[in-house]
Amino acid sequence: MAGAAGPGTGPGAAGGDGDDSLYPIAVLIDELRNEDVQLRLNSIKKLSTIALALGVERTRTELLPFLTDTIYDEDEVLLALAEQLGNFTGLVGGPDFAHCLLPPLESLATVEETVVRDKAVESLRQISQEHTPVALEAHFVPLVKRLASGDWFTSRTSACGLFSVCYPRASNAVKAEIRQHFRSLCSDDTPMVRRAAASKLGEFAKVLELDSVKSEIVPLFTNLASDEQDSVRLLAVEACVSIAQLLSQDDLEVLVMPTLRQAAEDKSWRVRYMVADKFSELQKAVGPKITLNDLIPAFQNLLKDCEAEVRAAAAHKVKELCENLPIEGRETIIMNQVLPYIKELVSDTNQHVKSALASVIMGLSTILGKENTIEHLLPLFLAQLKDECPEVRLNIISNLDCVNEVIGIRQLSQSLLPAIVELAEDAKWRVRLAIIEYMPLLAGQLGVEFFDEKLNSLCMAWLVDHVYAIREAATNNLMKLVQKFGTEWAQNTIVPKVLVMADDPNYLHRMTTLFCINALSEACGQEITTKQMLPIVLKMAGDQVANVRFNVAKSLQKIGPILDNDALQVEVKPVLQKLGQDQDMDVKYFAQEAISAVAQRLRKLDFPVKGSEEPSAPGADKNHFLRPRGPGEDTGKGPAHQLHVNTRDTLAQLGTAELVHFSRSRD
C-alpha cells in the first residue's frame, strides 16, 4: 500500500487537513513494515486507530490490501492481526462492506500455526453474523467452499468451524452444498481434518433441520465414531451429546445408542475415558429411560475399567450420576447398581482413583439419607479416612459438611481425630496447609468442647512450625476460630498461649506472637487488645533482634485503630518515638510509618512526622539487601523485601536468618 505507508502519508495525506495530530498515525503505519517484530506487533495492535484515522474508504482500498500482502509475517503478528480484523466491520463501513475483511482472514485461516488459524476462524465467525444474507451467499459461502476444498489440510481444518455460522441463513440450494462439503470433510483422508470435522459435528447438527440430522449427521457420526484413529473416535463422543439432544427417544435408541455403547467399550482407553468424562452430559442428553437401560451398565464397566485413568474419570462422576437419576427409584438403583462398584473402588490400587472417589463420595449421603449413610457409606468414609494416601483423607475431610447435614459429624469424630492428627503432622507442608484450612469448618461442626479437648493443641503447634506458610496459615486460622467461638473463649484459651511465645528464645517464634496479635486484635476487641496484648507488644520493643523491633512498629500501626486515644498517647507514642531513634534503618523506617499513621489518627500537632527521613532513605543502604527479613512483611513496602519472597519452605532460612541477623545486630 504505497500510499498509506509511504512518505505520502504525512499528516496531510492521512487526514486531509494537515492536522499535526495525525503524525502518530503515520508513524504507526510506517512501523507496520519495520524490521523489528515488536514494533510491527505494537502497530498491529493499534490497527483500529490507524483505520479510524484513514477513514473507511482508504481502509478498504489501501490498508486491507496491504495487510493481505503481509501475511508472511511472524505468527505473533499474524495472531494479533487475526484478532483485530474480527472487530473491523465498523471501520470498513459497516455490514455492507464486511466482505472486504474476508481476503486477509482467508489467508490467515490457512497458515500452519494453530493459534493463528483458530483466531482467524473465530474472527470469521464473528464477521459472518454481520454480513447481510445476500453478502453472505455472495462472499462468505464461497470462501467457506474454497477453504473446504483447499489443497493443504490447514484450510480444510479451518473450514470445519465455519459451516454452522453460515448454514442457518443460507438458501436451500446453498444449504445442500454446505452439507455436501461438510460430509466430504468428515471423510477426509487427513486425520487432522477429520478431527476438526468431528469436533464441529455437534455444533453443525444443532443448526440443521431434523430430517438432515437423521439422514446425514447420524451416518457421519457413526463413521467418525468408528474411525481408525482413536483421536477422531473420542471427538465423536462429544458430538454425541449434542446429537442426542436433538432426537426423540425412539430415534436415539435406533440411531445413536449402538454407537454410544460401542464407544463405552472401545478398545482405546482414550475413548472410554471420554465417555466417562462426558458421562453427566450424556446422561442428561439421552434421558432417564436409556440411562437406566444402557448407561448404568456402561458406567459399571467404566468403574472397573482396566485403566486407572478411566476409573478415575468415572469415579469423579459418581455423585452427578446419582443426583441426575429420576427421584423415583433412585435409592434402589444406587444401592443395587452403583454402590457395590463404589465399594470396590475404595480399595483400588491406584491413588488417583481413590482420591477422585473421595472427592465426591460424601455427596452421596444427602441423596441416600440418614439410614443408608450410616449403614453403607459410613464404613467407606471411615476406610478412606485411614487410607495411606493423604490426598484421599484430605478429600474426605474437606467434604465433611455434606455428611454433617445428614448424620452429624459425631458419628465420624472418633475416626476423624486420628486422621486429622496424622495429616496435621504430615511431612509435606502442603498437606499440613490443606488441613489447617479446614480447621475453622471442622471446629464449627465438632463444637467447642471437642475442639478444646482434641484439636486446640494442634492449632497451637502449627504456630511454631518450621515452615513460614504454615505459621502464617495457623495465625489466620486462630482469627477464624475466635470469630467462631467468641472473645471469651479467645481470652481463656488462645491469647495466653500466644503471649507466652513472646519470651521464646527463637526470634521467629517471638515474631509469630506479633503476627497473631495483628490477626487477633480486631476479633478480640478493644479490651483484650489493650489490657493483654498491648503490654506484650510494647515490651517487645526492647527485643535485641531488629526484625522483631520493626515488627513491633508494624504491629502498633496495625492495632492502633483498635486502641483508645489514651493508650495511644500514653503508651504507644513514647515507644514508637523511641523506635524512631533506633540505630537500625529498617526499625526507624517502620517506626516512622507507624508514627505518621498514628498521628493521623490523633490529629495532634505535637506528634511530628519527620519529612526528611522519608521512606526512600533506608533503601540507599545496600547492605540491607543482604539481610533476610522476617517473613510476612508487606512485600511492596519498605526496602528490604527481596529475600524472603521466595523462601517459604525454610528450615534452612531459619538457621541462616538467625546467623546473618545476629552478626548484624551487634553493630
Partner: protein, 452 residues
Amino acid sequence: MSSSSPPPAGAASAAISASEKVDGFTRKSVRKALRQKRSQGSSQFRSQGSQAELHPLPQLKDATSNEQQELFCQKLQQCCILFDFMDSVSDLKSKEIKRATLNELVEYVSTNRGVIVESAYSDIVKMISANIFRTLPPSDNPDFDPEEDEPTLEASWPHIQLVYEFFLRFLESPDFQPSIAKRYIDQKFVQQLLELFDSEDPRERDFLKTVLHRIYGKFLGLRAFIRKQINNIFLRFIYETEHFNGVAELLEILGSIINGFALPLKAEHKQFLMKVLIPMHTAKGLALFHAQLAYCVVQFLEKDTTLTEPVIRGLLKFWPKTCSQKEVMFLGEIEEILDVIEPTQFKKIEEPLFKQISKCVSSSHFQVAERALYFWNNEYILSLIEENIDKILPIMFGSLYKISKEHWNQTIVALVYNVLKTLMEMNGKLFDDLTSSYKAERQRYLMILMTF
C-alpha cells in the same frame, strides 16, 4: 515409487551427547532415578473371563516333516493367547510355555529353509498382530518429560520382544515373499504399526524402527502410504499434541528414505521438507530428535541444492528466541548445511544468515557464542567467508569488536581474537576502514553523552 532400496536405518543414529548434562549440573532424571523405581505399564491385557491354560506341544524339531507345518501353525495359534504381565504371579506356567514356544518359533524360521509357506502367512501375521497391536497404556506420569524422566517399560516385554524378534526374522527370511505377504501386511496393518511408535519403551521403538524399515524396503505399494502417515503423525505432533515418543525413530527411517528419493524431487517431498521438517524445529523436545532431523534436512539439500535458500530462511524464521540449548542445536545444523552448500546458494542467504550469526556470537550465553565462533574453524566455511568477505565482514564486525572488549567469558574473548585476526588477514583494508569508522561512531556517541 521410483526410489531405490533404502540403505539400512541407523545411518543417522548419531548420539546426542550434549544433552546428558545441563550447564554442568546433573540432570534431574539422574537424581530422580535414585528414588524412583522403574515403572512398568501395559494395557495389552484386558481381563476377559477366565484365562485359557496352555499345554506344551511337541517340539518342532521332533516332528516329521509332514507334521511340521501343521505343528508350526498350531504353535502360532497358541501364541495368540495373551497374558497379564501386570500380575506377575498369575499363569506362570502358561507364560513360560508361551515364551519357550516363541523362542522355538524364532529359531525355526531363522534356521530352516522352506518353512514359510504360503498357507502360514495368515497365521503368522495374525499371531504378530494379536501380540503387538494394542492401545498403548496411559503414561504413569502424566507430565512425562522424555528428556528428564525414566520411561515406563512395557510389562509384557518378555513375550513381545520375542514376537518382534520373530517378525524381523520372518521379514528377513530368504523365503519371505512380499507378493504373498501384502495380502496381510496392508495399510491397516502399517497404520497400527505406526501408532506403536508412540510407545514409551525405547526397546520397543527400536524394534519397530527396524521392522518398519524392512517393510518400507520390501513393500513398494505401501511406500507412499507410509510416508503420508508419518507426515500426519508429525503434523499432529507439531500442531496438536506436541507429544509423540517415536519421532526420532521415524526420522531415522525417513533419513534413509530421503536418501533413496529419485531426482528431480517430487513436489510432495519438497512440501514435506518445508511444511513438516522445518516447522518441527519449533518442538519443545527438539533435543530428543535433532540429530536425526538435521540429518534428514541435509539429505534433502544434498539431493537438491536449490532448496538451500528456503531451508535456511525457514530455520531463521524459527530461530529460538529464549532457549540457548536449542540455539546451539540450530547452529550445529547450520554448520552441517554450510558444509554441503554450493557457493552460489551461499550468496543468496549470506546476509540474513550472518546477521543471525552475528547475534549468536555476541550471545551472553557462552555456549551459544562458542558454537557460533567454531564456524571459523571450518575450512570450507572459511573459504566461503573469504570469497564474500566484503559482504560478511561489515555484518560481523560490530559484534565481534564489541565482544572482544566486553564478553564476560575469557574463552570467548580468546576465540574472538582469533576470528578477528583471520578476518583481518582476509581483507586488511576493509578491516581497517571498519575499525576506524566503528571508533568514530563510538566517539560520536561519547560526545553526545558528554554534551547531554
